[in-house]
Subunit: 352 residues, 2 copies
DNA sequence: TAATCTGTTGCAAACGTTTGCCGAAAACGG
DNA sequence: CCGTTTTCGGCAAACGTTTGCAACAGATTA
């Protein structure tokens, strides 16, 4: 009776060797049955598969990783799992990766660039690549890290680095144009965290669009991308005298909405607010938030594909995903129009 | 000149062997420097550490896993990452695990018990244990799977299995008592998904509490735990004539809130609504949701600890975490009381 | 019929660690 | 100063795979 090693659960650990013995072939044949089926006789193959199935054999990924150098794992690093912007992306990436037989490590940096770098380092040797989501590091740091592990960046553009971005510049332009169309002439941009590429893009696009229309745009910030920061900014927003606000993300916009409500400032009667992301909650608050919808799920899937194809060629494509302005109830006509004016009336007014 | 193997990034893969050669010791000494430092002379140790640092050596976890049988990874399986109940738990578990030098695979079952079982199987050989969050499988299935991999269950009680539960029964009792105290005599429980242990606990506790007070409790469901289901149930809720509603979770409660608002049913004027979970959005909607706060972050940390200690002894502890009723604005006096009655007045009335 | 090719399998050397065992040297006790 | 213990470090065998190479049989070609 052969000595079987028991694993910690007290069951027999069945290896390639057991399958080989039971089906009367060499272990290499068993190995090939799984990793290069076309190299083994169909008859033998089915016999091996049958005994493997019967014995409950599962390939040991550590052993496989050791020799092939591919772990079949990928890392996904986000700023804050609890920020509702990320879960749909995580979910999509995870599901997509699993379909390709990859598993996903998810890690959270708490918006801290130092933690971010450490995490990449820690994960580097254990994954085939990392998806860096809205990184807060500098471009230089990222350049350094990409030498240790294949990287795909989401929501940031760095020359020479494969990236998936949601076209937040275009989104910001639509949002600002929407506010201008409604007759607002003085706008505020509630700026997001320092180090965010997205934040720079939005500010630039919003500024350019406002300037082109001869409107004024005041930038407030930087802020942490959370509701509390949006709420805290309410006073400053009102102090500017602006009537239209674009926020870095929906959380901040919602926080602002709440604070304005608490101060009995009518929205959109006195101030119009636009968010970015279209998180689930933006439909749940009242007034419902006008916002720029980001295709986060598509971005997650695209990023996984880019990462897995990266080895094949030296291509460093950059994908730019389209964003959509979703108009809800937090935006309305500017202050010098009759409060009840419809969009059509406003459009007519503006054209005059 | 020795031949160095290059990894896919084109940099040299530095192994224990390189460190050994560079510091003039045997590889076993290098190994021990990292995995059993007390067995090596402090002087040698620091020399090895220095060269390791200088060469940029990182232990290969696959090789380590292969020989020790421990991967230093854990799996975390949740029903739906996009359900805001889970992210705080995931985040806490991940951070806590990382502090103990473990990495976390996160996977999503889409509320499907079949996917759930497959995921456990797929992850089993690649992790040291799995955290099963609010599983939808049957007890038997879970019993079967625990033989393949150490398991800790969250939000479910199965005899003999280590578990962390949030005391949702107690939460439901507080919630129902709160509604009864406000003078509501006919309540509805908006039931959650089939297969949810939590759902059974809530229903049982709510039913018992209502019965003990001689009040009526109608159970509606099962439902998917999403806002749409809560909204869709609005008609049925009103049809029962009940004035107090307890929902399986906040998402459903919020959905219901929206639908009632659309029908111009005043909340809490005509109907009071209580949720469970205390997700971030429950504070953002208007009226703000009265709900049972679950200590999800604490649960995540506790579960990680249990899983990592599990090997040490055969203990299968079950931790029961306290929940808290958070009273906000979605609950108010029952219909036969003056609409503006304060809580104190209500209490007085009920006592009479 | 000999030479070549093709398809299938076995052999054995890796991959980068950990760890039980053993010997050498140092420290200790009497 | 001798015997015993302790500390330290080397040796080599694992762990479960993959994969280049070689062997062999049968089919194909010239």
């Amino acid at each position: 009776m052969p000595v079987e090693t028991l694993n910690e659960e007290g069951t027999v650990a069945v290896t390639i060797r057991d399958v080989a013995r039971a089906s009367g072939v060499h272990i290499s044949t068993v190995s090939r049955t799984f990793s290069a089926p076309h190299l083994v006789n169909p008859e033998t193959r089915s016999r091996v598969l049958a005994t493997a199935e019967q014995l409950g054999y599962r390939p040991n990924r550590a052993a496989r990783a050791l020799i092939t150098g591919r772990t079949h794992n990928i890392g996904l690093i986000v700023a804050d799992i609890a920020n509702p912007f990320f879960p749909p992306l995580i979910k999509a990436a995870e599901t997509h990766a699993r379909r390709r037989d990859y598993h996903v490590f998810v890690a959270d940096t708490d918006e801290d660039p130092i933690v971010e770098a450490e995490l990449v380092q820690a994960l580097a040797k254990q994954v085939d690549g990392i998806l860096l989501c809205s990184p807060r590091m500098t471009d230089d740091q990222i350049e350094l890290l990409r030498r240790e592990v294949p990287l795909v960046v989401i929501n940031r553009m760095i020359t020479g680095l494969p990236a998936v971005v949601m076209d937040v510049g275009q989104g910001a332009r639509s949002a600002v144009r929407h506010l201008l169309d409604l007759g607002h002439r003085h706008l505020v941009y509630l700026s997001g965290p320092r180090g965010s590429w997205t934040n720079r893009e939005i500010r630039r696009a919003a500024g350019a669009t406002a300037r082109a229309a001869g409107a004024e745009l005041t930038v407030l910030g930087p802020h942490q991308p959370v509701t509390a920061a949006g709420a805290a900014a309410a006073g400053a927003v009102l102090a500017t005298g602006a009537t239209g606000v674009l926020a870095y993300n929906d959380l901040m916009a919602i926080g602002l909405l709440q604070a304005l409500q608490d101060r009995h400032v009518p929205v959109p009667g006195q101030v119009s607010v636009v968010g970015i992301d279209d998180i689930a909650a933006s439909e749940l608050v009242r007034p419902q938030l006008t916002t720029v919808a980001n295709p986060t799920a598509a971005a997650g899937r695209a990023a996984v594909d880019m990462l897995l194809q990266q080895g094949d060629d030296g291509s460093t494509a950059q994908i730019n995903l389209h964003t959509d302005l979703v108009i809800r109830n937090s935006t309305g006509p500017g202050p010098f129009l009759p409060a009840g004016a419809t969009t059509a009336e406003v459009a007519a007014y503006v054209k005059e």
